[in-house]
């Protein structure tokens, strides 16, 4: 069973008097242990699609199933719970909180959950992404590549089924980008998760198990 499945998804925006159709009848699915890369020109609807998969946005029409469950009509609070337990996010510009240490940033999604202590898992994840000696460093004391590793560790803290990456190498140089991609590939297998990424980066396509091309809101 696909961990995430979008069926006939349509997304329309109202901008002024014009209605923009960002996604047109999109079918998309991803399996565990698979890295899917979505590519396409600017304005093709890549980000909208990623937001749908990440349960950050709801479709105008169509259906979204997460682990076989229909989550299309979930309320914002229910979607928050799903994101909390099933989905990890990695952003282009890392989005780490500047006042927290690396370990604290990784623990962030579980911070309000006082019933479980994820400190050990946070430290373990940082070790696994090669930042075992940077546990108490703040983001401004880390390089771009190191920050993105912290962000990846943060995305994995809740043992999600899906990791979504929005241009994960976009702000990194070629070499650093490659190490991040190798990291993601390894974690995909170790954690048995689906990784869905959006990119412009040609090098990233090489690491993908499957490439989805999106043009004008339609999958080619």
């Amino acid at each position: 069973m696909s961990v995430i499945a979008l069926t006939d998804v349509v997304k329309r925006y109202q901008t002024g008097h014009e209605t923009v159709e960002a996604l047109k009848d999109v079918d998309f699915r991803a399996e565990r242990g698979e890295m899917v890369t979505i590519i396409g020109p600017s304005g093709s609807g890549k980000s909208t699609l990623l937001n749908m998969i990440g349960l950050l946005d709801t479709p105008t029409e169509g259906q979204i199933r997460l682990d076989g469950r229909d989550v299309t009509d979930f309320t914002e609070d229910e979607l928050t719970e799903e994101r909390r337990s099933e989905i990890g996010f990695v952003f282009q510009d890392f989005h780490l909180l500047p006042m927290l240490t690396a370990t604290e940033n990784v623990e962030l999604p579980t911070m309000w959950d006082t019933s479980v202590d994820r400190h050990d898992r946070a430290v373990d994840l940082l070790h696994r992404v090669g930042l075992g000696d940077r546990l108490d460093h703040r983001p401004d004391q880390l390089s771009g590549g190191q920050r993105q590793r912290v962000a990846i560790a943060r995305a994995l803290i809740n043992e999600p089924d899906i990791l979504l990456a929005d241009e994960p190498t976009g702000n990194l140089d070629q070499d650093t980008g490659r190490t991040i991609l190798e990291e993601l590939t390894r974690l995909k297998e170790d954690e048995n998760i689906a990784i869905v990424s959006v990119t412009h980066d040609e090098q990233m396509i090489g690491y993908a198990d499957r490439v989805v091309r999106l043009i004008d809101g339609e999958i080619q």
Partner: protein, 387 residues
């Protein structure tokens, strides 16, 4: 690190504390408004208390007294010995001091003269506190004189004073400024025997425990002596005066004053909370993307709301605490000057304004934080992440 470790148990508090630490100058400036607000409320409240305490202590010796003089409809001039006995019967357990009044001129050895009121009575100690010498329970011989008059004329304890052709020795000097009595003139207190040629007493003073007891006894005495005649008029045999009205007027004036002072103080706290609203709104708008990330990674709306409200509460608490400390210093100085005892500020009557100030500070800050917190928590993560 101590405080952050404790806060780790309270994620909202932990995050709020860190967020405030990110821009210390802004945090300090936002708190400064609250500091000023709290100082206004607390120190103006305390000032009200200090003024009221001073006013009542000045009047204290007067408000527990009842004065009886001959009434409008009395057939005799003055208060008769029989009436005094009757008053003693009605008002038991209080000091009833009948007295004669007169006036005279005392001269010093060097010829300087001073007009004084003369009071003839026996229980001197009930009405007069002395700054030197003694105030006897039964004044049989000798006299008491107001100390300021004595100073002016160079009269000391043991010196002789002539009154009505007789010589008396000064036994005690009366403290000046006791109540309204005397009309600024000095008082010469002589034994009743010095005025024994009078038929009736000029007045009777009753001294009770406090203002309320005085009011009560005055009412009982009025009922007893001044019967209502059949045509509805009161037959006033004795004129009975107590000072409860004065006390009440002072109290109500003081309450008005205190409310006015608190009102002024509250305005500054309102201004302060507008400043907090502004700062919180700015800081949530600045951190919009960050809050979007929190929401994206599964932080609930309520948790974001709590975090921002806690930030506002912390601003209030920091400002409130500083404000309370400064107000305390002001209060200590104020009571030192007005009441002579700085520690009075710790009594609940005045200390409560410190508590009020602090609670108002937190309350106002949290109220100011409500809108920014609600706005941040309900921002759609997709929009927020876009920036």
């Amino acid at each position: 690190m101590g405080i952050t470790e404790l806060l780790w148990r309270f994620p909202s508090a932990q995050m709020a504390w860190r967020n405030l630490g990110r821009n210390r100058i802004r945090t300090a400036l936002a708190s400064l408004g609250i500091v000023i607000g709290v100082i206004s409320i607390a120190s103006l409240g305390i000032t009200g208390v200090a003024i009221q305490q001073q006013a009542t202590s000045d009047l204290g010796s007067l408000t527990n007294e009842v004065t009886i003089t001959s009434g409008e409809d009395s057939s005799t001039a003055g208060v008769t010995a029989d009436q005094v006995d009757e008053v003693r019967n009605v008002a038991s357990n209080v000091d009833v001091v009948p007295q004669y009044s007169d006036a005279t001129t005392i001269s010093s050895r060097n010829g300087q003269e001073e007009n004084v009121s003369v009071i003839g009575l026996t229980q001197a100690n009930v009405l007069y506190d002395v700054s030197a010498g003694e105030s006897p329970e039964r004044l049989q011989s000798g006299v008491l004189l107001t100390d300021s008059t004595a100073n002016q004329l160079g009269i000391e304890i043991g010196d002789p004073i002539e009154y009505n052709g007789q010589m008396y020795r000064v036994r005690g000097l009366i403290e000046s400024d006791q109540g309204f009595g005397g009309g600024g003139r000095g008082q010469l207190v002589v034994p009743e025997s010095a005025l024994s040629d009078r038929d009736n007493y000029d007045s009777v003073t009753i001294v009770t425990e406090d203002g309320d007891a005085a009011t009560e006894i005055a009412a009982i005495l009025r009922d007893h002596f001044n019967e209502e005649t059949h045509n509805g008029e009161v037959d006033e045999e004795l004129s009975i005066t107590d000072y409860s009205d004065v006390q009440e007027n002072i109290n109500s004036f003081m309450n008005t004053l205190r409310l006015a002072l608190l009102g002024i103080g509250s305005i500054s706290l309102v201004v302060a909370s507008v400043a907090i609203l502004n700062v919180m709104l700015m800081s949530t708008i600045e951190r919009r993307g960050e809050i979007g990330v929190l929401r994206a990674v599964g932080i609930r709306r309520g948790e974001v709301l709590r975090m921002i409200l806690t930030e506002a509460a912390f601003l209030g608490a920091i400002g409130g605490l500083a404000g309370v400390l400064i107000s305390l210093v002001i209060g200590l100085a104020l009571f030192r000057v007005l009441a002579g005892d700085a520690m009075v500020v710790f009594e609940w009557e005045s200390a409560r304004y410190l508590v009020y100030g602090f609670l108002f500070a937190i309350g106002a800050s949290v109220v100011s934080g409500l809108y920014p917190a609600w706005k941040a928590a309900n921002d759609r993560p997709v929009e927020a992440l876009r920036g």
